[in-house]
């Protein structure tokens, strides 16, 4: 059709801009308040499979049972996987290059995702790292500012 040829297709810019507020729940709130108030990292253990979870869970996904066996974990652990990030993205928690790592804290069976900002050249799986707590803590996962290679 003639008019289709003679019509320039336009685009329209826009956004979805809404504030979200995710409830953390009792289990997560206990974890995050301990992080914030005491600088302690808590985990919990499934009564059935004995997996120690961090962050702690209300229930074990695999066993489908509620968990209420709490323990304090170390603030050190081992890198089980890592990547050095070199592309920019405005939600990144640090300028590039920085690394994401999965870190298995001492006493835990699962690994926690976090950030490593220094000595990236020495970063390898198996490396030991220690949590660096933020000075101003407000009850979220960035109350651990990053992990530092030991």
């Amino acid at each position: 059709m003639d008019w289709l040829v003679h019509t320039e297709a336009v685009t329209q810019k826009g956004q979805i801009s809404l504030p979200y507020r995710w409830w953390v729940g009792e289990t997560g709130s206990r974890f995050l308040t301990a992080l914030r108030d005491e600088g302690k990292i808590l985990g919990n253990r499934c009564p059935s499979c004995a997996t120690v979870y961090v962050p702690p869970r209300k229930n074990c996904g695999a066993c489908f049972r509620e968990i209420d066996d709490w323990l304090e974990l170390g603030d050190e652990g081992v890198v089980t996987s890592h990547t050095v990030i070199r592309f920019p993205f405005d939600l990144h928690p640090a300028p590039v290059p920085f690394a994401y790592a999965l870190i298995r804290l001492d006493g835990a069976d699962t690994a926690i995702l976090h950030v490593i900002k220094e000595n990236l050249n020495s970063l390898r799986n198996g490396a030991r790292v220690k949590a660096v707590f933020a000075e101003q803590r407000c009850g979220n996962i960035l109350d651990i500012e990053f992990f530092r290679l030991i």
Binding site: A62, T83, L91, A111
Partner: protein, 379 residues
């Protein structure tokens, strides 16, 4: 399982940006073309599954924009939010459950949203999303785990990018056929170690549709029916740190179900061609392992010894794979379409010889948390 078949299919050319096409246009075009391909009319179609995602489309109830374009007026219609292989799964079980024929149509336009923001929303809002993680960084963690577990190298992965981009030259629908070397991949810009630019699939716009029908309807369609012999899907744990990222156990479970249903005991021997969801170069070998085509860590060897190359005994992604065109959600449906084209003998330049059984595979969630496996056969 009763006999059901793929009787119609269509896909668009995949491009970085289709500025003149709306979702509605894309869905209409592949719906029209799939009907034409099948020789059926809309009256033969008694139900519709659309596949879309509200984040990708920037619209709540994204299905609302396309129901009419998918021929859904006055029909039983539903929407799967996930990869097209999952949408097709629902389409197939609707035929098994009593419908005559399901039109399944998927669309996405990676050009319209911000892929990083959208994939950041896949992650846990309390513990992960504030860290800025998204699909590329999480994939890099998986690639790193996989390399370290089996002593693989970036070269091993780069070879898959070389193979699939080369295969894409034979596929007129592919977005980026490339003649590249392993060195080109290795020296492409580093994004998230060990992933470099040429290890990544592109951002794409496009759509695809298939028609799944019962035996009676299949017999009156224009094309050779492609019989669905086995289907299975499975999802593993959500948190990356709860998973062994180098062990695709959900895929193993999905494949087991599909193979059992299809009566397959030795997939390497019994399947002639496979189309798998290689969003990054490391994924193809990892998924081949999960599908039981090799021992753990053996994926790169399959390529080195020629098994999965175009002339091999089990060519994988002769279409060029997701690495050569990645319209999210659509890409899994395209794997099904490409497998079906192989079985029909209509794959033109990318046709593999003597195909009687083919496999297609799609994924959902971060790092292939959820997998869907299909076994298709010709008569």
């Amino acid at each position: 399982m009763e006999k059901i078949a793929i009787v119609g299919l269509a896909q668009t050319k995949f491009e970085r940006r289709k500025p003149d096409k709306t979702y509605y246009d894309l869905v209409y075009e592949v719906t029209r073309d799939a009907l034409e391909d099948s020789g059926l009319t809309l009256a033969d179609i008694d139900n519709v599954i659309t596949v879309s995602n509200d984040f990708l489309d920037g619209r709540t109830i994204s299905s609302m924009a396309v129901g009419e374009a998918a021929g859904g007026h006055d029909k039983n219609i539903s929407t799967v939010e996930g990869d097209g292989t999952f949408g097709a799964f629902y389409g197939a079980i609707r035929v098994l459950g009593g419908f005559r024929s399901t039109l399944v149509v998927a669309h996405s336009k990676g050009s319209e949203g911000n892929v990083s923001y959208i994939s950041n929303a896949l992650f846990d809002p309390i513990y992960q999303r504030p860290l800025g993680i998204e699909s590329l960084a999480s994939a890099a963690l998986q690639a790193n785990s996989y390399m370290e577990k089996f002593g693989l190298s970036e070269i091993d992965f780069a070879k898959f990018s070389v193979k699939n981009h080369g295969n894409a030259w034979n596929n007129p629908y592919a977005q980026i056929p490339l003649t590249i070397t392993v060195q080109d991949v290795l020296s492409s810009p580093k994004l998230a170690d060990p992933i470099k630019l040429l290890d990544c699939s592109p951002i794409s716009d496009g759509a695809a549709a298939i028609i799944i029908a019962d035996e009676k309807t299949a017999m009156k369609s224009a094309k050779k029916p492609v019989w669905i012999r086995g289907i299975g899907h499975c999802c593993e744990e959500y948190f990356l740190g709860d998973r062994d990222l180098a062990d695709p156990r959900a895929l193993r479970s999905a494949a087991k179900k599909a193979f059992e249903m299809a009566g397959i005991s030795n997939p390497s021997r019994e399947i002639r061609v496979a189309e798998v969801y290689d969003a990054f170069s490391y994924m193809e070998p990892l998924w081949l392992e999960g599908l039981g085509f090799c021992k753990p860590g053996g994926g790169p060897e399959l390529l080195d010894c020629g098994v999965i190359s175009r002339g091999g005994t089990l060519p994988v992604n002769p279409s060029g794979g997701v690495l050569s065109a990645h319209a999210v959600l659509v890409a899994g449906l395209v794997r099904l379409i490409e497998a079906a084209l192989q079985l029909r003998g209509e794959a033109q330049g990318r046709q593999v010889e003597d195909v009687h059984r083919a496999l297609a595979h799609g994924i959902n969630g971060p790092c292939g948390q959820s997998h869907c496996v299909w076994v298709l056969e010709s008569d």
